[in-house]
């Protein structure tokens, strides 16, 4: 009972409620898009983009921007990187995976370098650590952060529902989709932009190193058990909701880092679903 009353006590603080709301919304968006990204063999785009977002955030913090001000730099830069990665992925001269590798490592190194050289803050390694692992920033959200996040998540979820059938077609068989008249390159372009937006949002929650977990784990867990695209999408969203909710509760009550705890909850869910999938297949 003491645990529950402790939780109620925590939820009286607005920043805890904000963190909970934003965390769950971001996880929901990331998991929905994750189904498409994983199936299209694009899961590493999320990883690459998160490093780019780290580099962009470093630029923003050197310029003295924080909060929503930094978004003005981070969001467009990450979106540009998303489009570049997607275009080079189709180019046969530079392989997609190598292009992502170069871009992500380059952005990571560049970001750390300029943070070290130009940063006005006295605690550079603390800044870097919180950007990489999102240790506390989820608990320092302002009201405008929360509104921005709600609007963007609503946009992503609306996009997913409205384009659900086209997304399926493009994901399952791109050449068939373009033969039937779907503009697949436009579709891929939009997917890249939405991915970039989610990654920039999710940086607040889990930090840039752990974002891929939010994208990949729910989809992979759902695919262990479910067999249709619809059920996998719904299940992935459900897993993301439960894992993020539980992870945040544990993290708030036990004082563990929010991002890492949420990812651990996702890993546990994956293990449970793997076993479940094996048992059901028998």
């Amino acid at each position: 009972m003491s645990l529950l009353s402790k939780l109620f006590y925590y939820f009286e603080f607005p920043f805890v409620r904000y963190a909970f709301l934003v965390g769950v919304l971001i996880a929901l968006c990331a998991s929905l898009l994750g189904v498409t990204l994983v199936l299209k063999r694009f899961s590493f785009i999320g990883d690459g983009l998160s490093h780019v977002a780290f580099g962009a955030l470093a630029i923003a913090s050197v310029l003295g921007l924080s909060g929503n001000g930094s978004m003005a730099i981070v969001l467009p830069l990450t979106m540009i990187a998303a489009v570049i990665i997607l275009k080079t992925g189709q180019n046969t001269k530079i392989r997609g995976d190598a292009a992502i590798g170069m871009l992500s490592v380059g952005a990571l190194a560049f970001g750390y370098l300029i943070m070290n050289v130009f940063s006005a803050s006295s605690n550079v390694s603390g800044d870097v650590c919180s950007t990489l692992f999102g240790s506390t920033s989820i608990l320092t959200l302002s009201k405008s952060d929360v509104y921005l996040c709600i609007i963007l998540s609503a946009g992503v979820i609306a996009f997913y529902i409205l384009f659900y059938n086209r997304l399926f077609s493009v994901t399952f068989d791109e050449s068939f989709a373009s033969a039937t008249g779907i503009n697949t390159s436009l579709c891929n372009f939009i997917i890249a932009l939405v991915t970039a937006a989610i990654i920039v949002l999710a940086m607040r929650l889990v930090g840039s190193l752990l974002i891929s977990a939010l994208v990949i784990f729910p989809a992979m867990s759902a695919m262990r058990v479910f067999k249709s695209f619809k059920s996998v999408s719904i299940c992935a969203a459900g897993i993301a909701l439960v894992c993020t909710g539980l992870g945040l509760i544990v993290s708030i009550s036990a004082g563990t880092p929010a991002g890492a705890t949420v990812v651990c909850a996702d890993i546990i869910a994956f293990l449970i679903f793997s076993v479940l999938g094996k048992v059901l297949r028998r």
Binding site: Y164, N165, T171, F172, F176, T180, M223
Partner: protein, 277 residues
Amino acid sequence: MQIISVNNLAYGYEGGAIVNGLSFTVSEGDFLSVLGDNGSGKSTLMKTLLGLHRPSSGVIEFQNGLKASEIGYLPQQTPVQRDFPASVREVVLSGFSGKLKGPFYSAEQKKKAKENIEKMGIEKLSGKCYRELSGGQQQRVLLARALCAAEKVLVMDEPVSGLDPNATADFYSLIQRLNKEDGKTIIMVSHDVDCAVRYSSHILHIGCHIFFGTAHEFRHSSAVTSLICNEDHDEDSGHASLAPTHDCHGGKKLCFPGDEGAGRVHGAAGKKGGKKK
């Protein structure tokens, strides 16, 4: 009624044309098989016909009211599909995805999808997961999807590759029914000369020798002879890529000079009509 006319077409990958000066026509109700060696550009020709690939020169014309959206496509399977969680119903419905007006499929489209599933004889599988089906069943699903997209023409890229003999025979009779009973025009890439000659009305052979004509003309043309001679030079056994390792219906096999029973095709080319027994 002529519906597709290809005139002096050249196409290829970046950097150079693989095929030059290709001309042929397709009429309504035709069953055209496209033959040729590996890498001769059969799949690329299909993509060029569908507008997925830009030709380097020449004209492809759709005539007598044929629209690009009336052509259905059965592409080669991709590695992505092998572990894709999708039910048969979802895959077949996605044939309509190019015709979506709003975000969702209409009741009429759902009904049509159901009819196509029944037509392919896979209604028992419609709730099953695509990745758990056999190769032949998967091709039926993809064919049902192509039927949702196509009103008139079906373009298929090696639909029987990787199927066992029974599944191949089933699939051919299915295509033949679509062609004869439903009047669908079929354009099919194939590796299998014997079945192509047996089932199709027209043959297009691309490669070093370009041949276009009816299956009957093909049987008696020199293209067959040169085809076999080339294969004999390329491969020790001559069996590997040309000869069907299975029989598609009647159990007759395409034979090679030196084999027992050689000259069925070879002789036909020389003597004219030698094949008809």
